[in-house]
Structures are given as structure tokens and as C-alpha cells.
């Protein structure tokens, strides 16, 4: 499948898809975040073109929507790979060898933070606390938590999902 150039993520029928998402949240209190979650689920990111449309529908301005989108690290401005590995970078995990673990994983994958493997399958993200400090260092792969993580275990799991 040819890769889609980034500027055409939001194409002509995207407007209809977006309108449908906005409509499902009509009348709801505080609809912005649920809409943004659905948009990210639909496009794998929050396309900039979508932000003025959402703003208009909700009686906001595009600056306000952008302020919210940029506030949350989980809202992406470009799509991630189909699989996402997140390594905890917070204090407890660092004290339990998180830095070394991160170095090993980066080396093993050949990518840095926020980058995607050359095959486009996996994106590596830092995260600040997964709430799993008792089992530090911790990680998360596709939403599944990994406690007492080590390089070998993570590499094995990553290999499974990339296969």
C-alpha cells in the first residue's frame, strides 16, 4: 500500500466523518475531549484541519482547540505506528534502572523517542508514570502494562507484535 502523504490525511470525505463524530457528541457536557479521542481513533492523530471545524461546532476558536490538543501528549500531530511502546521516565522507574533500560531498547530498535521503526510498525514514546511504581521499571505495549520490565522481555514482546 502506498504511504499517504501527511498533508492529505484530511481528505474530502474526512469532513463527513468528522461531522459524524461531532454529531455523536452533540448536547453532551464537555464534548471536546471525547471528540478528540474519537478523532485520534479515526485518523491516528488530530489533523490540524479538523481543529477549526471542531472549534466552530462547539462555539470555540481554533486557538482554544489547539491549546487543548497540544496540552495532552497523547494527542498526536502525526500518526504513530500501529503498535506503541511506552517506557516510563518518572522518578521511581529511573531509580530502578529506567535509564539503562531505555538505552538498551533504543539501541535494540535503532530509534529514539517519538520515532517509529523503519518498517513503520512500532513507535517508541516516553511516559511520565504509569502508576506502576511498585513494579518499576515499567512499560506499556499497546495499552498493556509491563511491570519489572527488562530489555529481553520487552524485546521478545515487541518482536511478537511486529511479526
Amino acid at each position: 500500500m502506498p504511504s499517504t502523504p501527511q498533508d492529505s490525511v484530511f481528505d474530502s470525505d474526512s469532513q463527513d466523518r468528522l461531522d459524524r463524530i461531532i454529531a455523536t457528541h452533540a448536547g453532551r457536557e464537555g464534548p471536546l475531549l471525547p471528540i478528540l479521542h474519537d478523532v485520534q481513533a479515526e485518523w491516528g492523530m488530530i489533523p490540524e484541519e479538523a481543529q477549526p471545524i471542531i472549534a466552530k461546532a462547539l462555539g470555540l476558536t481554533r486557538a482554544e482547540v489547539y491549546g487543548v490538543v497540544s496540552f495532552y501528549h497523547d494527542f498526536r500531530d502525526h500518526p504513530a505506528g500501529p503498535h506503541v511502546l511506552r517506557l516510563c521516565r518518572a522518578e521511581a522507574c529511573i531509580s530502578m534502572g529506567g535509564d539503562e533500560l531505555a538505552d538498551q531498547i533504543c539501541r535494540a530498535l535503532g530509534i529514539g523517542w517519538h520515532e517509529t521503526t523503519p518498517d513503520g510498525r512500532l513507535t517508541l514514546e516516553p511516559v511520565f508514570c504509569l502508576g506502576l511504581c511498585a513494579c518499576a521499571p515499567s512499560a506499556e505495549l499497546d495499552g498493556k502494562l509491563i511491570g519489572r520490565a527488562d530489555a529481553a522481555r520487552i524485546s521478545r514482546m515487541v518482536a511478537e507484535v511486529r511479526a
Binding site: 476558536t61 486557538a63 482554544e64 491549546g67 496540552f71
Partner: protein, 959 residues
């Protein structure tokens, strides 16, 4: 000297409006303040400055900078003084060892991410960060930050955190390197301006101020360049380019903006005779420290190179201009005016007063006509804008002006906006209305076009009645129909304030089925359901106000519409208390004043008829000459008389009638038929193409006087610099009058105001001394109301009982038909002002470089017109070309444009239809056809060539 005023001190947080008083102790001083006041403001009231960065009295407290922490007895920790309200008996310590240490620590962190280039910084000497570093005694910064936002390069290469300056806005620069992320700018954009163009992107260390989205610049964002962000920025992050260019100002002159009818008060920050920046005055009662792009930034025209600084004359309008001295120009003008009178009679000459000039100047020009010319041939541009307001409100209430002050909008529960576009025409008022809308007030807009007010962020209920141009009376009478048939009227109010029997007659009239929403839907295209909803909402709102503009008045039934508006307000009891009222949004800075000053041919100053013997005798006594009791010619009559050969000379001060009056070809033929046309203006304009004498005018920065805004507020205009042309406008009128034997001896505008006060009852108490003392007053200002009258008709109408006038809808003769199937209506845009003579000579062109024709997608498609195409717009009167902008803001069948640029000459196509009562032209409805075009019309080409010819100035040898 009273002109040199120290800037108002920033009290930290806005004043509380509570009438419950609270006494507390701050650093050993007792202070009594209204409940709800912040500790910070209370301290300021006691003369104690608490250090602060994110707080300013323009904005609600935010509590983010942590510099204003204090200690309060009995309270734990160190609360922020900006967000802590006062309490009875509170004991506050603003300076303790503990808070001193906290403040120094906080400042150290701020400064660790701030460049230390203070000496070469644009905010040097005017930087709150610098001041606070001094106030907290910062002596060292211990942190060597691993990352910063201000250095362009790090030891290893470009600094990824650094962002270059955003210089996209022509008036100010955004330098992210200087930003301390106090959010003042974002809050000003939201709370004060109501545009919500700014945000804080990211979070933590990545937090930055962003205009619009990631890819936007200030210019491409929603920013309307009001400058509120620049005004509140405590550092050099947002700073006027003029300050960067010139440096800090050294004195301040308080004056009044010369753009729209809001009449904002400004502090002109001067260096010598040069304006560095205009800052809206916090104490300005119309604007309370806010302004728009025009007032704050677009004053560069005053020193524009195209300004005419020497008088010029010529024999024929095809001759080139000859620069002459004042004596020769005035002699030439006076001789020709007198000759026209000798040859064609006393009534063969007249004047047009300016709504841009001061009250004093306008008074002199009409006095010139009445006392020196000996006729009443005086008129003003209000003829073409709000003359129906004067007539309609005069008939219904007894005064020819708006009923309320702008502050009243803070109390309104519902605003009915008719034929006005406040965000563009009256931006500062729009910001105040939007603020009220965010607090929950409803909005009903009756306008052919979906105006920006309907897209106010965070607004509550909004309703749009998109009527066909020309059907105002039908729709308003239909609203009345719903109110009377559903029994929604306020009987108590009507019985006590109006004539009940008269109302009963009106009720029968309005209740007739021909006014029912279903019938009116057929004429107006407004769905009947919407009319009913709007009527119910207006009647049900506890305090409903009406604001209207030229979309009401510039119609063949303009006066009837004004009366219909007055009827609605009276029948629902929406008159006489704050939050209600009928308020015309008047176009020009002093259009109210020019009407008050007797610019009309039938009225002396103060709206007293020339036939009224007592008034005439008063003026005859003061002026020492006999006066005519015959009303003079209105502007359109002057043109007609000129074409008939009876009207031969015109003195036109500060108005470009060729561009602003309807049916341009009629106007230009009339001017060509005159023997002497004297134009007094800052620039060569379209009218001066037909003039024989050009007297260079002076700008508002160069003279003393007063302007009267839309809320009847008389504001002082003060001279900031010497007139570049040598004389203020009032001096020029006096010199001309004296050449004609007047013998006037005014030495200062204050003497003219004394004469106005002496002869005009509603101005009896007004004097420059009073205005210097209290800032401004709203007329009537007399013995009964020595400080003026903010809200009129409080307990009774000026005329006694409010009057219900029947408002029968009569369709305009200007109807769309097969040849001209579309209806053209005209309006304004924010960045340009009126005919654009001033704003086109400023950087405001960045926002509106040309007039465009708004057309609905379906009408465009039918005609094969694409976005940006040149189109020909033709009416029965003429044709012009401009570019098309396809949008659904206008309904199918309606097209819309602005008239700011002379090359398009939209008024070539407007017709000579006018209001039945006042001759106010029907600018707002013209039947047109639109078709694709390749370029300018023949008329545009001919006009250009005459214009080029008429603007030649003969090169004179240096003396």
C-alpha cells in the same frame, strides 16, 4: 500642565462593584474597600504595591506568577494576594522575611529563562519584569538552566527551543524569547477583546503563547489586532513596532479617537511632537481601557507623505493645482463665493459640515452659512447615515439620540441587533457586548448577512433573522404583531409612560393579519417561526436592549424603521433603566456632535427649528446679524439645485461626498456645475477632483476641541502636536469667514464651546474646564444634570408621553427583477474606516487591500463565477467591477460589499432612492446583476483618467 499626566497606576485586579464595605489592615494601615476586592487591590488602595507579574487591573486575577504572595494573620501559608478576597478585620503583611524569600526565589527562576539584554531591549524602562526584579531585590541567579527558550544557539548548535520573532502583524512584534508565559495576553484576548485568538500551547517547560494553531502566525490567526495583548504584556514579548523604532515616550496627552462613534478615550504617548503609541485610557467611560486596531494603531495617516500641507487653487477643475499661500487661497475662495451670491442670489452657496471634525469646528461651519452667507444651506454626512434616527427618535421620544450609555450593555439580558455589524463598525462596543453574551445574555440579529457577532465564542442563545434587504419595517412590525396578539406587552409601562388609547390604535394596526409572521415571511424570507421566537424572546427578557446601525436608516423607509424600533421598546417597557433602551450605533466619531451642533438646514444647534422665533432671536442677538427663517438645502437638494443652475458654490469640510454619497455620477455632475467648490481635507480625495480650492485640514492630533460619541458623551480632544498644515480646522473656517466680513475673534476652541453652552440649553453646563475635571459628560448637561445624563427618559419621555407611530411597510421602488435579480447591500469591515481616506494610508491594508463582492455559492455557480474572479456589478444607475468572494454568509439573492476603496466606487451603482422623511439615501438596497468580467468598466477608466488629471500639482519654483 494638565496635559501631562502620569499614567494610571495599575491596581492589580479590577474594581469590585459591591456596595458592602470591608475594612482591613495592610502593613499597619487601615483601608476600607468594597467586598469582593482582592487583597492586592486593597493594598494598592492603601498605597502599598505588592509585587506582581500575571496580575493587572485589566483582567480578572489568575494567580499564576506566585510573586504576589503575602501573609495573612490566621491564614495558613502564603496566599496569592490577587486571588484572595478581603475580609472584615483581616490583617495582611505584604513584606515579611518569608515572602521576600519566596519572591526572590520565584524571580530567580523567571530570570533563569530570560535574556539579560535589558539595555538594548525595547521594553527597557517600561518592563514589569525588570521592575519586579528590582522590587524583590534579585541579586544573583544561581541556576544554570540546561535548556532555555531565549538563546538562538547552544554550545552544540541551534537551540531547538528557540523560536524567532513573529513580525507578521504590521503594528507589533511577538518575540517568544522574552515571554514569561504569564498568560496576560491570552486572557486579554479572551476577557477584554473576546476574540479568543491566543492560547497557551503545550505544558510545563513547553508552554508557549500561540496565536491560532501551530501553523498560524499572528496575521493568519483569528487575531483582529486590537492590541489588548500588547497593552497588558509585562515584558517586551508583545511590543508596538513604533516603540521598537523610537523608544519610550516621555509625556502623555489625553485625547479621543477620531474613528467610529464609540469615541474611545486614549492616552497619546508622545516623544516631543511625535506619537509613540496610542493607549486606550482606563478611565475612558466609553471604552474602559480597550480599543480596536484603528484607534490604537491606524493613526499613521496623520503624518503620511500624501498629506496636503499647503493651500492650492485652480481656475478650472481640469487645470493642475497651484500651491499658494493662505491669503491667496482664502481670498480666491471668499471672492468666488461672494461672486456666486452676487450673480445667483443669497441662497446660491452652502456648506457641508464634517462629522470628523470637532463640535466647535462644526458649529463654526454652520454659523458661517447662517450668519455670514445669510442662508441655512448647511448639511452634514449624517444626512446619508443617521438622519432617520434623529427624525424617528425625535418623533417617538422627543430627543434625537440614543437613550443609554455603553455601560448599560453590562446589564442587558438580551440584545437585539438590527442592521449593524458591531464587531467591524463599533469593535469596542462589540467586545463589551460579547462579554455580556458570554455571561449569558441572548442575542437576536436582524440582518441580511450572518455577521461575526453570531459567531461569538462561548456565547449563549443566538438567533439570526436573515431578512431580504428592504423589508425591515415588515419584520419589525411583525415582531410587534406577535407581541400584541400574544399579549406580551407591558401594560403598566404603556399606561404610565405612553398614551394607552394611542397604543390601542397601534395595537389594532399591528394585529392586522397582513403583519402576521406568515404573511411577512413571504416578503422578507424570514421563517415565520423565527419571527415568533424572536418576538417572544425580546418580550420575555427582563432587560432587553436594541442596538441598530445603518442597515436600519439607509433605506427608503429608514425613519419608519426607527419608529418601529421605538414602538417595540415602548410596548415591552424596555426604556428608562440600565440594560434596556434604543441605541443607534453612530458611524463617525462626531456624527452625533455634528447633528447636535446645528448642521442640518432646518435646525439650529440643539435641534431647534430655524422657524422658531425665540431661538432665532437668541442667535441674532449673539451673532449680531439677521438670520433666515427658511430651512436651507439638504445635500441631495444642493446637487439638484446645482444641476438646475441655482446652486453655485460649496464649502465642504472633511467629507468626501463623491465617494460616500449615492449615485456618484449625479454627484460629480452637480459638482462640475458649480463655480466654486472648496474642499478642506487632509488629502486630495475624490471630491477634490472637482474642487477649485483645497484648504489643507488638520488631524485630530493637531487641535483642541470636543467630539460627541454615540452615547451623547462629550469627550475632549487635545492637541498633541503642531498642525502640520499650519492651522487647526476651526482657524481656517474663521479666516474664511473673516475674509467674507464676519469679524470673528475666537482665539481658542474653548471660547466657541462657551458660545455653544450659552446658546444651547442641552449644553448649558458644558465647558472645557468641566471636561478637564470630570473627563467627559453626556448631554443634556445643564442645571438639572450638572454632570450629564447617562440614561435618558428615566421617569418620563422628554416629549412627555412616548408616541406610537404606525409603521406601514411600503416596499422600496428598488426591487429585483429579471434584469437586476440580486439585491446589493453594503457594509463595513473592521480594519478600514468609511471611505478609507485614513485607513488606506496605514498598514491596515494588510487585512483589507480591496473591496470584494460577497455572493452566495448558488448565485455564483449560476453565473459561472469562481472564488476571486473579477465580476461586473450593474444597477440601473451604473456599473463597476470588483472581485467575488463566495460565501454562505449572505443568503441566495443577496450580494454584499464594502465601500472603503475609491477604485471600485461602489456608489456608482447605488441609486438616488431615499428615506421619505429625511432623504437619507437607500445605500442598503440596490437591485443589481452580477456577471463575470475581465476588468474595470468604462466608467472606472474614465473616472481614473479624470482623477489623474485633476490631481496634478504644478511644480513651483522654490522661493
Amino acid at each position: 500642565m494638565k496635559d501631562f499626566i502620569i499614567p494610571d497606576r495599575d491596581m492589580g485586579t479590577p474594581a469590585s462593584k459591591s456596595d458592602v464595605m470591608v475594612t482591613l489592615n495592610v502593613d499597619g494601615r487601615q483601608v476600607t474597600v468594597p467586598a469582593g476586592t482582592s487583597v492586592m487591590r486593597a493594598a494598592a488602595e492603601a498605597g502599598i504595591a505588592v509585587p506582581k507579574l500575571c496580575a493587572t487591573d485589566h483582567l480578572e486575577a489568575f494567580g499564576s506568577c506566585r510573586l504576589c504572595v503575602v501573609q495573612i494573620d490566621g491564614m495558613r501559608g502564603t496566599p496569592a494576594s490577587c486571588t484572595t478576597p478581603v475580609a472584615e478585620g483581616m490583617v495582611v503583611h505584604t513584606q515579611t522575611d518569608e515572602v521576600a524569600q519566596i519572591r526572590r526565589g520565584v524571580m530567580e527562576l523567571y530570570i533563569s529563562d530570560h535574556p539579560l539584554d535589558c539595555l538594548t531591549c525595547a521594553a527597557n524602562g517600561d518592563c514589569e519584569l525588570q521592575d519586579m526584579a528590582g522590587a524583590v531585590g534579585l541579586r544573583e541567579v544561581r541556576y544554570d538552566a540546561p535548556k532555555n527558550h531565549f538563546a538562538q544557539r547552544t554550545a552544540t548548535g541551534p537551540n531547538p527551543e528557540y523560536r524567532p520573532k513573529d513580525q507578521s502583524n504590521p503594528y507589533f512584534t511577538f518575540d517568544p524569547a522574552k515571554c514569561i508565559v504569564c498568560s496576560r495576553c491570552v486572557r486579554a484576548c479572551e476577557d477584554v477583546q473576546g476574540t479568543f485568538a491566543l492560547t497557551i500551547e503545550g505544558r510545563g517547560f513547553d508552554s508557549r503563547v500561540s496565536a491560532g494553531m501551530g501553523s498560524d502566525s499572528f496575521l493568519s490567526s483569528d487575531c483582529v489586532s486590537c492590541g489588548a495583548c500588547v497593552q497588558v504584556c509585562p515584558t517586551a514579548t508583545l511590543v508596538e513596532n513604533k516603540v521598537i523604532e523610537i523608544g519610550t515616550p516621555e509625556h502623555i496627552v489625553k485625547t479621543t479617537c477620531a474613528y467610529c462613534g464609540v469615541g474611545c478615550s486614549f492616552d497619546a504617548h508622545m516623544r516631543g511632537e511625535e506619537v509613540v503609541r496610542m493607549v486606550p485610557s482606563k478611565g475612558g467611560k466609553a471604552n474602559h481601557g480597550h480599543s480596536c486596531v484603528k484607534g490604537r494603531f491606524a493613526w499613521g495617516y496623520a503624518t503620511h507623505r500624501e498629506r496636503i500641507l499647503r493651500p492650492m487653487v485652480r481656475e478650472k477643475i481640469t487645470d493642475p493645482w497651484r500651491e499658494v499661500d493662505w491669503d491667496e487661497a482664502l481670498d480666491f475662495a471668499a471672492t468666488r463665493l461672494r461672486r456666486a451670491q452676487d450673480d445667483h442670489g443669497k441662497n446660491a452657496i452652502g456648506v457641508i459640515t464634517s462629522s470628523r471634525c470637532t463640535n466647535e469646528e462644526t458649529y463654526l461651519v454652520q454659523k458661517l452659512a447662517r450668519a455670514v452667507f445669510g442662508n441655512n444651506n448647511t448639511d452634514t454626512c449624517a444626512r446619508v447615515c443617521h438622519s432617520p434616527t434623529g427624525y424617528g427618535l425625535g418623533q417617538a421620544f422627543g430627543t434625537s439620540a440614543g437613550t443609554h450609555d455603553f455601560d448599560s450593555v453590562e446589564d442587558t439580558d438580551l440584545a437585539l441587533v438590527i442592521g449593524a455589524n458591531p464587531t467591524d463598525g463599533h469593535p469596542v462596543f462589540a467586545s463589551r457586548l460579547r462579554k455580556r453574551m458570554r455571561q449569558g445574555a441572548g442575542l437576536i440579529v436582524i440582518d441580511p448577512r450572518r455577521i461575526d457577532l453570531l459567531e461569538t465564542p462561548h456565547m449563549g442563545m443566538g438567533m439570526h433573522l436573515p431578512l431580504r434587504p428592504g423589508t425591515n419595517v415588515a419584520v419589525l412590525t411583525s415582531l410587534a404583531h406577535v407581541i400584541v396578539t400574544e399579549g406580551l406587552y407591558d401594560e403598566d409601562f404603556i399606561r404610565s409612560r405612553c398614551d394607552w388609547d394611542e397604543f390601542r390604535t397601534y395595537m389594532d394596526f399591528a394585529a392586522d393579519p397582513r403583519h402576521s409572521p406568515d404573511e411577512v415571511e413571504k416578503l422578507s424570507c424570514v421563517p415565520a417561526g423565527l419571527i415568533r421566537q424572536a418576538a417572544r424572546a425580546y418580550a420575555a427578557a427582563p432587560r432587553a436592549s436594541i442596538y441598530y446601525g445603518l442597515g436600519v436608516t439607509e433605506h427608503s423607509q429608514g425613519s419608519t424603521t426607527v419608529m418601529a424600533i421605538a414602538n417595540l421598546a415602548m410596548m415591552t417597557g424596555n426604556i428608562g433603566e440600565p440594560g434596556t433602551g434604543v441605541n443607534p450605533l453612530r458611524g463617525q466619531n462626531n456624527v452625533q456632535g455634528s447633528c447636535d451642533m446645528g448642521s442640518f438646514p432646518h435646525e439650529f444647534p440643539g435641534y431647534r427649528h430655524v422657524g422658531d422665533q425665540a431661538t432665532r432671536e437668541l442667535y441674532e442677538r449673539i451673532w449680531g446679524v439677521p438670520l433666515s427663517d427658511e430651512p436651507g438645502l439638504r445635500i441631495p437638494n444642493m446637487f439638484d439645485a446645482a444641476l438646475a443652475g441655482n446652486f453655485r458654490g460649496l464649502y465642504c469640510q472633511g467629507e468626501d461626498i463623491v465617494q460616500s454619497d449615492p449615485d456618484t455620477q449625479h454627484v460629480t455632475s452637480a459638482l462640475k456645475a458649480m463655480d466654486i467648490v472648496i474642499v478642506q481635507d487632509l488629502f486630495l480625495n475624490e471630491t477634490s477632483n472637482y474642487a477649485h480650492v483645497l484648504l489643507p485640514g488638520s488631524s485630530f492630533l493637531e487641535k483642541d476641541g470636543t467630539f460627541t460619541n454615540a452615547e451623547r458623551r462629550i469627550n475632549m480632544v487635545r492637541r498633541c502636536m503642531t498642525p502640520k498644515n499650519g492651522h487647526a480646522d476651526w482657524e481656517i473656517t474663521q479666516m474664511l469667514a473673516n475674509r467674507m466680513g464676519a469679524g470673528w475673534t475666537y482665539t481658542h476652541p474653548s471660547e466657541i464651546m462657551e458660545e455653544i453652552a450659552l446658546t444651547t440649553p442641552s449644553f448649558a453646563g458644558v465647558s472645557f474646564d468641566l471636561l478637564d475635571r470630570v473627563g467627559s459628560v453626556q448631554w443634556p448637561c445643564n442645571e438639572a444634570a450638572p454632570l450629564g445624563t447617562p440614561v435618558m427618559h428615566l421617569d418620563g419621555f422628554v416629549r412627555g408621553k412616548g408616541r406610537f407611530l404606525h409603521t406601514e411597510y411600503v416596499a422600496t421602488e428598488e426591487r429585483s427583477g429579471p434584469r437586476f435579480p440580486l439585491l446589493l447591500t453594503t457594509g463595513r469591515i473592521l480594519s478600514q474606516y468609511n471611505v478609507g481616506a485614513q485607513t488606506r494610508r496605514t498598514e491596515n491594508l494588510a487585512w483589507h487591500a480591496e473591496d470584494v463582492l460577497e455572493i452566495h455559492p448558488s448565485d455564483a455557480e449560476n453565473r459561472g463565477v469562481r472564488q476571486g474572479d473579477w465580476v461586473r456589478v450593474a444597477s440601473r444607475s451604473g456599473e463597476t467591477t470588483l472581485r467575488a468572494h463566495i460565501t454562505d454568509r449572505v443568503a441566495p439573492g443577496v450580494v454584499y460589499t464594502t465601500f472603503h476603496h475609491p477604485t471600485n466606487q461602489v456608489n456608482v451603482i447605488t441609486t438616488d432612492n431615499s428615506d421619505w422623511a429625511t432623504n437619507c439615501p437607500e445605500f442598503k438596497v440596490t437591485a443589481v446583476q452580477v456577471s463575470p468580467s475581465n476588468g474595470p468598466t468604462d466608467w472606472q477608466r474614465d473616472y481614473r483618467s479624470h482623477s489623474d488629471l485633476a490631481r496634478r500639482i504644478m511644480q513651483t519654483a522654490a522661493e
